[in-house]
C-alpha cells in the first residue's frame, strides 16, 4: 500500500511577530493612539477624578464626592457666569451666522479686489485671542485715547463707558467675539454657497425669481447642513474660549462678563487661588454642555454611520 505522504501544512504567514506588526495596520494607528491617550484620554480621566477631590496646587487632595459640584451650583459667581455664557453664546453665534452669511453673499458677487476683502475678513479669525483682546481694549477704553470715543468726540457726543458699565461691557465682549469669529463663519458660508448647482440658480433666473426668493427658496435650504455645522462649531468655540475676554475685561466689571471658561481658569490658576479640584468640576460641567452639541453634530452629519461608505 502506497502511503500517501501528506504535505506538511505550512503556516500561511511565516513572518515574525515584529514583521507582522510592521506590515499590519498598527504603525499607522499607534502615533494617533498614543497622542490620543497622552493628550486627551489621560488628562480627561484625570480631570474627572480631580473634580471629586479638594486638590489644590501643591497639595494632594482628598476624595470629597460631589461637594465641588454642590458648591458650584450655590456659588453666585458661577451661576451668574452660566447666565452670561448663555446670552453670550446665543448672541455671538447669531451674530457670526448673520454677518457671515451677509458677507458670503456679498463676496459671491464679482467685483474688483474681492480676494483682498476675503483675506481682510479672515484676519480676525487668524489673530490670537490675546492680541485681539489688547487691540479692542485700546480701541474701547474710554478717554480720548480710545478710537471709538475719539470718533464720538469728533461728533460732539459724550464718551461711552464701553468696558466699565456692566451692560456695555457685556455687549462689547459679544461684539468683539462676533468680529473674531466672523472669518470662520464666512469661510463655511462661502463654501456652502459654492456647492449650490449653478443650473438651479439659472433656472430660477429664467423663471423670474427675485434675489430674495432665490436666497429664501434655494440657497438657504441647500446650505442647511453647512449652517448647522457652522452653528455647532461656533457654539463649541464660544463655550471654550476665554483668552480675549480675559484680556479685554478680565470678566469685569464685577464679574459681569465672566464666561464659564474664564471662571474655570481663574478658579484653577488665577490670582493664586489654585483650586484645581473645583476648577476641574467646572471643566466637567463645560464638557457635558459641549458634549450635547457634539452629539447633535454627530447626528447631523451622520458621522457615526461613517463617511465614504456606500
Amino acid at each position: 500500500m502506497q502511503s500517501i505522504v501528506q504535505p506538511s501544512i505550512q503556516p500561511l504567514n511565516r513572518q515574525s511577530k515584529i514583521e507582522r506588526f510592521i506590515h499590519g495596520p498598527w504603525p499607522f494607528i499607534l502615533p494617533a493612539l498614543f497622542g490620543l491617550v497622552f493628550m486627551r484620554a489621560f488628562p480627561f480621566v484625570w480631570q474627572i477624578w480631580l473634580s471629586f477631590t479638594n486638590m489644590r496646587l501643591g497639595r494632594p487632595g482628598e476624595f470629597i464626592g460631589l461637594q465641588n459640584y454642590r458648591v458650584l451650583f450655590q456659588n453666585p459667581v458661577f451661576l451668574s457666569s452660566i447666565a452670561y455664557t448663555g446670552v453670550f453664546m446665543v448672541a455671538t453665534v447669531a451674530g457670526q451666522m448673520f454677518f457671515g452669511l451677509l458677507l458670503a453673499l456679498l463676496l459671491e458677487e464679482d467685483f474688483k479686489g474681492k480676494a483682498v476683502y476675503r483675506m481682510t475678513f479672515l484676519i480676525p479669525w487668524i489673530v490670537s485671542g490675546f492680541v485681539a483682546g489688547i487691540l479692542w481694549q485700546l480701541m474701547l477704553v474710554e478717554t480720548r485715547f480710545g478710537m471709538f470715543n475719539a470718533l464720538l468726540d469728533l461728533m460732539n457726543v459724550p464718551p461711552v463707558r464701553w468696558l466699565s458699565n456692566a451692560r456695555n461691557a457685556q455687549m462689547s465682549v459679544i461684539m468683539v467675539y462676533i468680529w473674531k469669529g466672523l472669518g470662520f463663519s464666512l469661510l463655511l458660508m462661502s463654501g456652502g454657497l459654492k456647492i449650490i448647482p449653478q443650473e438651479m440658480i439659472e433656472s430660477a433666473d429664467i423663471d423670474g425669481a427675485s434675489y430674495l426668493q432665490k436666497l429664501r427658496l434655494i440657497k438657504l435650504p441647500m446650505m442647511k447642513d453647512i449652517i448647522s455645522v457652522n452653528i455647532i462649531f461656533s457654539v463649541i468655540a464660544a463655550l471654550n474660549s476665554y483668552e480675549t475676554v480675559f484680556v479685554l475685561t478680565g470678566g469685569g466689571p464685577g464679574g459681569a462678563t465672566s464666561i464659564i471658561a474664564l471662571v474655570m481658569f481663574n478658579t484653577a490658576f488665577g490670582d493664586g487661588r489654585n483650586q484645581l479640584g473645583r476648577g476641574s468640576a467646572i471643566g466637567v460641567v463645560m464638557f457635558v454642555v459641549t458634549l450635547i452639541f457634539v452629539i447633535i453634530y454627530v447626528r447631523k452629519t451622520n458621522f457615526a454611520k461613517g463617511y465614504g461608505k456606500p
Binding site: N54, F145, A166, P253, G254, D271, G272
Partner: protein, 438 residues
C-alpha cells in the same frame, strides 16, 4: 510605503518619549559633580535667569552663580529654568517630586507648600546682622504660616502714590486731601482725563487698599482663623474705602475705565500725559516713568506713601514679591548646601545686582543705605520709607479668595451693577462658603 511605516513607528516612539518626559514635568537630573562636590538644582522662571533675553539680567544672575561657586568650591549649582506654562505648577511638581533643591517662589504660593512643611527653616542659619538687615515684615509674614522661616524674601514691591509735582506740589496724606487736590486739578485742567488713577477692577485694587483697611483697624481673620473681613466693624471700613472711590469716580476724578483696569491700565494715560497721580507698585518709577517718559516729563514725577484716612494712622502700603526657599531633604550635606545658596542668593551683593537689573525693590535695608543707586533714586527712597511700615496681605490660602471676592464687589459697586450692600453681601457669602469648604 515601507519607509512610511518606519516613519510612523518612529513618530509613535517619539510621542511615547515626549509623554514620559512631560509626565515628569521637564525635570532635570543633577549634572555629575566633581568628586567631593554636591549639586544643588535651583528652579527659576525664564525671566529671572541667565537665559533671559535682557543682557543686564543675564549678567546679574550669572554674577550670583559665579560668586557662589567661588565661595563654595564643593558645591555645584545647576540652574533649572522652568519651561512650564504655569510656573506655580512647576514649583509644586518639582518640590513634591524632590527634583530641585531650591526654588524661587512667588509669595502668595509660599503658604500652600509651607503648610505641609516643605521648606527648611533658615532662621538658625542667619547671623544676627542678617536678621536685623531684612525688613521685619518679611520674617513676620513668612513665619505666619507655621512658625518657621521657610525662606528669605529676595525682592518685593510696595504700593506707592505717584504724582506730578507741577500739578500737585505735595503728596496728600489722606484721601480727603487727595479729593480736594484732584478737584482743583480737574477744575484748572479740564483736558486732564484722570487726575487720579487706581486700578479697581482686579485684585490689584485690594492690594492698593489693604494697608488702608489695616490702618483703619481692620482684621481679616478672628483668633480661630475664621475670615471676618466683611463682618461688623470690618465691613464698615470697606464701606468707607468703597465710598471714597465711588465719590471720586462720580466726580470724574478717577476715569471710569479704572473699574475694570489692572494696574498696568494706567500706562496709556501716563504716556499721553493725562494722569496727575496714580497708585502702583514701587517698580513703576524705574520701569515706566523713567524708562518710558521723556526725561523732562519724568523729572516732574515723585512718589510717596499711599494716602490714609482722616483720623487713622498714615497711609500704609502693602508688599508683594518673591522668596528663595530650600526643600527639606534627608541628605544633610545637600540640605546644608541648598541653604547656603538661599543665603547667598538673598545676600547684599545678590539683592543689589539682581534687583537693579530686574527693576525690582530689595528687601534688605542695607541695600537702600549703601548702594548709590538706591540711595539716590527718588522712587526707591520713597519705597524704602514705605517698606519700613508696610504690611503684607496674610499669607494664607483664604487670602486670594477674599481678595478676589472683595475686588469683584468693588467693581460691581463702582460700575453700578450692585448697591454697596448687595456687593458686600455677595462677597461675604462667597468667602464664608469657600472657608467652610476648605
Amino acid at each position: 510605503m515601507k519607509a512610511l511605516r518606519h516613519i510612523s513607528i518612529l513618530l509613535a516612539l517619539m510621542i511615547l518619549f515626549t509623554g514620559v518626559v512631560f509626565a515628569g514635568g521637564g525635570q532635570q537630573a543633577p549634572a555629575p559633580a566633581e568628586p567631593g562636590q554636591v549639586t544643588v538644582r535651583f528652579l527659576v522662571p525664564q525671566w529671572a535667569s541667565t537665559r533671559d533675553a535682557r543682557i543686564e539680567r543675564q549678567v546679574a544672575f550669572q554674577s550670583v552663580i559665579d560668586s557662589f561657586h567661588a565661595a563654595n568650591p564643593n558645591i555645584r549649582l545647576q540652574e533649572v529654568v522652568s519651561t512650564a506654562s504655569s510656573y506655580d505648577v512647576d514649583v509644586a511638581n518639582q518640590i513634591n517630586n524632590g527634583t530641585v533643591e531650591v526654588v524661587w517662589i512667588n509669595n502668595p504660593f509660599y503658604p500652600t507648600l509651607q503648610q505641609d512643611g516643605k521648606f527648611v527653616n533658615v532662621e538658625p542659619f542667619l547671623s544676627e546682622a542678617d536678621k536685623a538687615d531684612f525688613f521685619p515684615w518679611t520674617f513676620e509674614a513668612l513665619k505666619s504660616v507655621n512658625g518657621e522661616l521657610g525662606g528669605l524674601w529676595h525682592n518685593t514691591d510696595v504700593r506707592l502714590f505717584f504724582y506730578r509735582t507741577d500739578l500737585m506740589p505735595t503728596a496728600p496724606k489722606t484721601y480727603e486731601e487727595l479729593i480736594t487736590m484732584t478737584r482743583q486739578i480737574k477744575n484748572s485742567n479740564p483736558e486732564m482725563a484722570a487726575p487720579f488713577f487706581a486700578s479697581l477692577g482686579h485684585t490689584d485694587a485690594i492690594t492698593h487698599v489693604w494697608g488702608n483697611f489695616e490702618a483703619l483697624g481692620g482684621r481679616p481673620f478672628d483668633d480661630n482663623g475664621k475670615p471676618v473681613v466683611l463682618d461688623g466693624q470690618n465691613r464698615q471700613y470697606w464701606e468707607r474705602i468703597f465710598r471714597t472711590f465711588k465719590e471720586m469716580m462720580d466726580a470724574g476724578l478717577i476715569p471710569e475705565s479704572a473699574a475694570v483696569a489692572r494696574e498696568a491700565g494706567v500706562v496709556p494715560l501716563l504716556l499721553s500725559g493725562q494722569v496727575a497721580s496714580f497708585i502702583a507698585n514701587s517698580n513703576y518709577g524705574v520701569r515706566e516713568i523713567v524708562a518710558k517718559l521723556p526725561a523732562e516729563e519724568a523729572a516732574l514725577w515723585q512718589a510717596a506713601n499711599v494716602p490714609g484716612y482722616q483720623g487713622t494712622a498714615g497711609g500704609r502700603s502693602v508688599s508683594g514679591g518673591w522668596v528663595f526657599s530650600a526643600r527639606k531633604m534627608d541628605d544633610p550635606v545637600l540640605q546644608e548646601a541648598a541653604v547656603k545658596f538661599v543665603l547667598h542668593a538673598t545676600s547684599f551683593m545678590a539683592q543689589r545686582n539682581v534687583n537693579k537689573a530686574g527693576g525690582w525693590t530689595p528687601t534688605r535695608t542695607s541695600v537702600f543705605q549703601d548702594d548709590p543707586f538706591y540711595q539716590g533714586d527718588r522712587f526707591m527712597v520713597a519705597a524704602d520709607e514705605a517698606l519700613a511700615t508696610a504690611t503684607v496681605r496674610p499669607l494664607n490660602v483664604m487670602s486670594p479668595i477674599m481678595a478676589s471676592a472683595i475686588a469683584d464687589a468693588l467693581s460691581q459697586y463702582l460700575s453700578g451693577s450692585a448697591t454697596l450692600a448687595q456687593a458686600l453681601d455677595r462677597a461675604n457669602t462667597i468667602i464664608q462658603q469657600e472657608f467652610s469648604n476648605l
